[in-house]
Symmetry: C2
Subunit: 339 residues, 2 copies
């Protein structure tokens, strides 16, 4: 069995985008606009069509069984509007994910976005997490380390502002994938430098703060192969050893709470990831349909068909099964296979 | 011959830090403080001692011949004070580097820092670059893509604000290493997430803007092994191919203007770098004495003794000579060996 722990609903019917545009239009007139949740009229057939032509087709072509599926990451845009904007938008996006789970319970498991908003407390995120996990069967969430969208001017992940959310994650026994959204800072490119830089930044915030001593049961998934971390494994290992007396986590300690996915789109990158990171800390993922949709002209294969890279990696059958299936079941214990 | 293209004077005598503290004290009283360049009283013996016990000792122990030597990167702190602060500080730091070159012309070649300052034009950087290169024999410079120190709120490297500096780099035929300084943003850790994230960010700014079409002769060195770029080579290759029609550089095109150094502190990272990046685009470097000073308990070797990794990499003798010596001579044509 092959479980992809990182897929986003990037192919939603246009009504979802129209809802968002209406939110933005209302905010242009009044930045404090509250509005209401409202409705989005998308039929089951439209949902099916958007998936059958894309994620489901690729799942079948690539021989993947199940995708942990969350709303489109670049559309979370927590920097847009106010906490009401973010709440209604997140609820709508998560409701759609639940409907997809209802339609294809064997192909998708639901992961939610959180209604973070710059300057707002995490209370609304805790509420939405509870709604999704306790009432709708979600198995995890995406947590944005920079809801400002590239200004990096809110509390860090080591700040106590996040404590109520971390307590809920531990109580509900669900992991958080630490995933930024689109950036509105022209210095950064969303799926290039912003995603990868943020992955490294989030990892380092936990490492330098010793955060997991306060939340030993919390589980983080760092997407996109861990940003720059595995490539610079020696740098992080050495810095952790030098600063262990200053309250940092060592790299070994980090591996009790942090997992990396396999969204690395070439063979040497996957080989490095699987060589330096403990096998039990790697979760299979492809993030399709995502940042890189094309075919590599040198190989004739899709860049994001990461299964092929893992298939070819120097792993034992048991290790490959850990990466494809067993690790993700440990990290996402609410995942019910074949439910 | 082995040339290390990336070393900083991280071990200066305390008088240098005292000069900086006096600058900061004056700025506390008056943020607009101009002051004057003044003097720093450090004897040749003190300079020698600071190097003999550190960089020169390690050069000899590791069998390195020459280091391209610049002021301490984390101390550039372009965000401190105003353009006068930055100008006097840069001139002092560069003068010290020149004195080191006078003392050890066979061990060090001088690379300058630039007096960038948030909101100021690059004119003063052009002046200091000319002073260093034309009057003092410098062979390159360090260019900070974020003089704000982690706010990322100035012009990007693709902005025409940088054009006068780029024209000077081309005219003088010197490369720029794109290197940030210390961050004052608590989200980032200077030598961990900030350095690596900035390397990726700078690379992406050039790639998405097609910058080198305007400056086909400009040469950039991206330090720290290129941040996250080589590890995510497939991602960048695929994105470049998808967006070639939108004015981006492809990854192949980038290799006409960009080089990566070997400041990657473990064998698998160096192996990946040398496998995916064209050999002619890799420059040997260790950045000692720098971010990671310790010994890896698993190997008994210094993390930053990158020569050992390159020695062990699967390269032909000719390829190794390219990385150790020939590439850097092409990128830094003002470098006079044994001058």
């Amino acid at each position: 069995m092959i479980i992809d722990c990182h897929g986003h609903y990037t192919t939603a019917p246009p009504q979802l985008g129209q809802y968002r545009e209406a939110q933005k239009a209302a905010l242009r007139d009044d930045p404090e606009h509250v509005g209401e949740k409202g409705t989005i009229d998308i039929s089951d057939d439209e949902l099916r069509d958007s998936l059958e032509r894309n994620q489901l087709r690729l799942q079948r072509e690539r021989g993947l069984d199940l995708t942990l599926f969350s709303p489109r990451a670049s559309w979370m845009e927590h920097h847009v509007g106010n906490e009401h904007t973010s709440r209604f938008w997140s609820e709508q996006c998560n409701d759609l994910i639940r409907r997809i789970f209802d339609l294809y319970p064997e192909n998708f498991s639901p992961v939610c976005q959180l209604p973070q908003s710059p300057g707002a407390s995490v209370d609304s995120s805790v509420r939405e997490l509870r709604r999704c996990v306790e009432e709708m069967g979600f198995v995890g969430c995406n947590l944005n380390p920079d809801p400002s969208g590239g200004s990096w001017n809110g509390p860090t992940l080591a700040d106590r502002a996040f404590w109520p959310l971390y307590e809920a994650l531990c109580e509900l026994d669900v992991p958080a994938m630490i995933h930024v959204s689109a950036t509105c800072n022209p210095h950064f490119h969303t799926t290039g430098s912003h995603y990868l830089g943020s992955d490294t930044t989030a990892f380092m915030q936990a490492m330098t703060s010793g955060l997991f001593r306060d939340f030993p049961a919390m589980r983080w998934v760092i997407p996109h192969g861990g940003g720059a971390v595995p490539y610079h494994w020696g740098r992080f290992k050495g810095m952790g050893e030098e600063n262990a007396g200053a309250g940092w986590h060592t790299l070994d300690e980090m591996m009790a709470n942090v997992w990396f996915d396999t969204c690395v789109y070439h063979q040497p990158g996957i080989d490095l990831l699987l060589e330096v990171v403990p096998i039990e800390n790697v979760l299979f993922a492809s993030e399709m349909v995502g940042a890189v949709k094309g075919v590599n002209p040198d190989t004739g294969e899709y860049y994001d068909d990461t299964r092929k890279y893992v298939d070819r990696a120097a792993l034992s059958d048991e290790q490959r099964r850990q990466v494809f299936e067993l690790n993700v079941q440990r990290v996402y214990p609410r995942l019910k296979i074949g439910a």
